[in-house]
């Protein structure tokens, strides 16, 4: 057959793009690691890895919730504001101890999630609009609760922010535990399966008798709660509560991590491993540019390039 080679190119191209969408993010992480090992001073040190890991933890935790929202064919723009609300609540309730503060923060996130989810599931507002409203309103509420920056001096909080177990910082442990919980939820629970079906085809899921509204509300509650935990950890690390700036543009970092990790914006699929790698990729990219004395604006442009590459891979895949 003389036309074999020609015949193969098209499917092969599609296969390459599919592979890139699913695994390109791991290649990116590997390339950045190798580059830094070769060209960045003091990169291969336990201290550096520790710093990187602590910094990536909040992005990753927020991205987990975002992955669920995107998997349900939605999006959650309010996550950054939930972090701000979380830090305000922590400052207000820290007097009762760090655990009560954490509880208050998470309840705040759950409340925002319930409003988001109800607007989307019951009122029928589009996710991008509903969560945009909460993005604006959430930060407003955070500033009403705590109008200015406040130092957080609490030994318990400091331990959570910078303490460790066998050299692994608490925020990293918490992030890893949450990754495991979310991955398990997506793969093994009824909720996870229903979420994917709803994200892929809402009318079909509804006719199959799935509790579409309940699942959607849970998705946004989960996203809100995860963002609140991220806000708590960020507060603990900074030892300050700053609702004006904490979590700004976090929604974009989280969306980037999810999309770069191979989760399609069209819903129906959630890649947790890819999301983790996506968050790590963004962190490494920032760190690499900073360590080579390039201005922060470069980081944003580099992120843009990564997003375009990820979306390009996804587009080619969708075409077939």
């Amino acid at each position: 057959m003389t036309d074999t080679a020609a015949a193969r190119t098209a499917p092969d191209r599609a296969a390459v793009h599919a592979w890139l969408q699913a695994y390109g993010v791991y290649v990116g992480v590997a390339v950045l690691l190798l580059f830094n090992i070769a060209f960045t001073d003091h990169f291969l040190s336990a201290e550096n890895f520790r710093t990187q890991a602590v910094q990536v933890a909040p992005i990753l935790i927020v991205a987990l919730g975002m992955a669920l929202a995107i998997g349900s064919e939605g999006i959650d723009l309010s996550v950054g504001s939930v972090m701000a609300l979380s830090t305000s609540l922590v400052a207000l309730y820290l007097g009762y101890g760090p655990w009560i503060a954490l509880l208050a923060a998470v309840l705040g996130g759950v409340a925002v999630g319930m409003v988001n989810g109800s607007l989307i599931a019951f009122v029928g507002v589009q996710p991008i609009v509903a969560t945009l409203a909460l993005m604006v309103g959430g930060r407003g509420l955070a500033l009403v609760l705590l109008p200015q920056l406040k130092d957080v001096r609490d030994p318990g909080m400091r331990a959570l922010g910078s303490g460790d177990v066998l050299g692994v910082p608490y925020p990293v442990l918490i992030a890893v535990a949450l990754v495991a919980v979310v991955a398990f939820t997506v793969r093994r629970t009824t909720f996870g399966r229903q979420l994917l079906a709803i994200g892929d085809s809402r009318p079909a899921a509804r006719l199959a008798g799935l509790p579409v509204r309940r699942v959607l509300v849970y998705v946004y509650i989960a996203s809100g709660a995860l963002a609140a935990v991220a806000g708590f950890l960020a507060t603990a690390r900074l030892q300050a509560s700053d609702p004006t700036s904490l979590g700004t543009l976090m929604e974009l970092s989280a969306i980037t991590a999810v999309v770069v990790g191979g989760t399609p914006l069209s819903g129906g699929r959630v890649r947790i491993g890819g999301t983790v790698a996506g968050a790590v990729l963004i962190q490494l990219l920032t760190a690499t540019l900073v360590k080579h004395d390039l201005p922060p604006s470069w980081t944003q442009m580099a992120q843009a390039v990564v997003i375009v590459a990820a979306v390009y891979a996804a587009r080619e895949r969708g075409k077939r």
């Binding site: 020609a6 296969a15 399966r193 006719l207 129906g268």
Partner: protein, 525 residues
């Protein structure tokens, strides 16, 4: 014989793991209506997509007027005078009818602005030729599917197409709209346009086509004039089975009447009404009985099935299963009560394309297969294994994406999903539409078996033969109301058509709906 206007030579197209077209030769002449037929998966859709520039071929070539003309994009094909009318109308639903018709060729007035007056006048004139009388300023999406299809066709002709490709144009039309369509097709032919006509309905082919090409497994198995070709021979070529075999088994797979027990009805529907759509619909289905819902497109058959299944919230009325009242407006409640609906629109309301065959089958019964919210993979595997075997679902594995299967196999996956829910009443809305002859026979046989097992079945089908042979009784609907019921010996095609026609004459159709407009216009012809 005239030159081929559009033809292919040794056309080959591969997809991962599938040889969709294997050196296909095909040609259509000016002034010819050429049927393209074959079972699902035979390669018809792929051939059309290569002809119209959607897919690039992997081998062979497309010829336009005998010269090489493989189109790189759909636009290139359009510019070469090839227009396509897909099963799903691909116009812009939010734009007005007139704008759709003139999209990209709007008449310009002073200052280069669109001359809306002229556009609307012209649109009305053009569409009236197609039996569509409607306000052309209204968004296209508000028209019935049949009327939308006419607009698509009018546009195709209006842009001066030399070749018009129609992919199952009648699948959502009612009989009179089909007649109008055939009239248009004949006029096109007389004007020297070449028409490629894809359909599963043999009656239509004999009514309107001159030549036929049969594809099977990506190859051309027959091409030639249609006249003189026996219908059974055609079927046997599509199926790749011997004539005797086909003849012996008949064209539908339904067995005899079911001994509709005098038992209490398993499903009882009382006074079901949906604003503007259904008016006081009542009927009952007994266990072991297949009840057909007859009527024209837009008569409320689908709406009836949907409101019984909870997918459409009724404004009044009561649904009971085995004497227990079912909460309406909730698909979940209906499923728990034992009502399952196989929806008409398989692609958007049935299959979840990105999930595997396995997940699709288990979808409706996940809670039952789970403990404390955790899914039991072993229980899913055994359920899926059972149904894939029983329904003979052809997939490379249970993990293949359902969206990749052929229409017939998707339908079987959906049937498996609903049977897994262990229903007492099965509502089948066009269960065999758009699926190949083989799968159709299997589905029909299955419906018989299920009824024999004591299920109550409600059958909706635009295929009269299927409805008549499959049903023990037929409830006839018109304009959302029950207008008659055929039982016993009355269940014949003639009686059904009489029932529909008689009802329609008693009280002329006055509703301001597009299909009605088409119907009225067709009646004037």
């Amino acid at each position: 014989m005239a030159e081929h206007v559009l033809s292919t030579r040794s056309l080959t197209k591969r997809f991962p793991g599938v040889l969709a077209l294997d050196r296909v030769d095909f040609g259509v002449r000016a002034g010819e209506v050429h049927a393209l037929i074959g079972e699902n998966g035979a390669g018809k859709s792929t051939l059309i997509k290569v002809l119209t520039g959607v897919y690039a071929p992997d081998g062979g070539e497309v010829l336009r007027d005998g010269g090489p003309a493989t189109f790189g994009t759909p636009l290139a094909a359009q510019q070469a005078g090839i227009s396509t009318i897909y099963q799903e109308v691909n116009l812009v639903p939010l734009m007005s009818v007139a704008r759709n018709l003139f999209l990209g060729r709007e008449p310009r007035g002073r200052f280069g602005l669109i001359d809306f007056d002229r556009m609307h006048r012209e649109s009305e004139r053009i569409l009236s030729e197609y039996g569509v009388r409607t306000d052309v300023r209204r968004p296209l999406g508000e028209l019935g599917v049949g009327a939308q299809q006419m607009v698509a066709l009018a546009r195709a002709v209006w842009v001066d197409a030399k070749v018009v490709v129609m992919d199952e144009p009648t699948s959502s039309l009612e009989p009179r709209e089909v007649e109008t369509l055939f009239g248009v097709i004949r006029r096109l032919r007389d004007r020297g346009v070449a028409v490629v006509y894809v359909s599963h309905r043999l009656d239509e082919l004999y009514a309107v086509c001159d030549a036929v090409t049969v594809l099977r497994d990506g190859r051309t198995v027959h091409t030639g004039p249609l006249q003189g070709l026996e219908r059974l021979r055609l079927v046997s070529m599509m199926l790749g089975r011997e004539i005797g075999e086909v003849r012996a088994e008949g064209t539908t797979k339904f067995g005899g009447d079911h001994e509709a027990a005098s038992a209490e009805p398993v499903l009882r529907v009382d006074g079901l009404s949906v604003q503007h759509q259904l008016h006081d619909v009542s009927f009952a289905v007994r266990p072991g009985e297949v009840v057909g819902l007859g009527g024209l497109l837009g008569s409320g058959r689908t709406e009836t099935a949907k409101s019984v299944a909870g997918a459409l919230a009724p404004s009044a009325g009561r649904v009971t299963v085995a004497g227990a009242r079912v909460r309406t407006g909730s698909p979940g409640a209906a499923i728990r009560a034992g009502i399952s609906l196989l929806p008409e629109d398989r692609k958007t309301e049935g299959i979840v394309p990105g999930l595997s065959v396995r997940e699709n089958i288990a979808l409706a019964v996940l809670p039952r297969l789970s403990r404390a919210g955790l899914v039991s993979e072993a229980r899913i595997d055994s359920l899926v294994g059972t149904f894939m075997e029983r329904l003979r679902i052809k997939a490379s594995s249970p993990h293949q994406k359902a969206g990749e299967l052929s229409g017939g196999n998707q339908q079987k996956v959906l049937l498996a999903r609903w049977l897994a829910a262990e229903p007492r009443v099965l509502l089948l809305d066009e269960p065999t539409r758009g699926i190949d002859v083989g799968a159709k026979a299997e589905v029909q046989k299955l419906v018989d078996e299920l009824a024999a097992d004591g299920l109550g079945v409600l059958l909706i089908s635009s295929d009269l033969e299927e409805l008549i042979e499959g049903s023990d009784r037929v409830v006839v609907l018109r304009d959302g109301a029950v207008v008659g019921e055929l039982t016993g010996d009355e269940v014949t095609e003639d009686r059904l058509m009489e029932a529909i026609a008689a009802a329609a004459e008693e009280e002329p159709h006055l509703a301001d709906a597009a299909p009605g407009d088409v119907r009225k216009a067709a009646a004037h012809d």
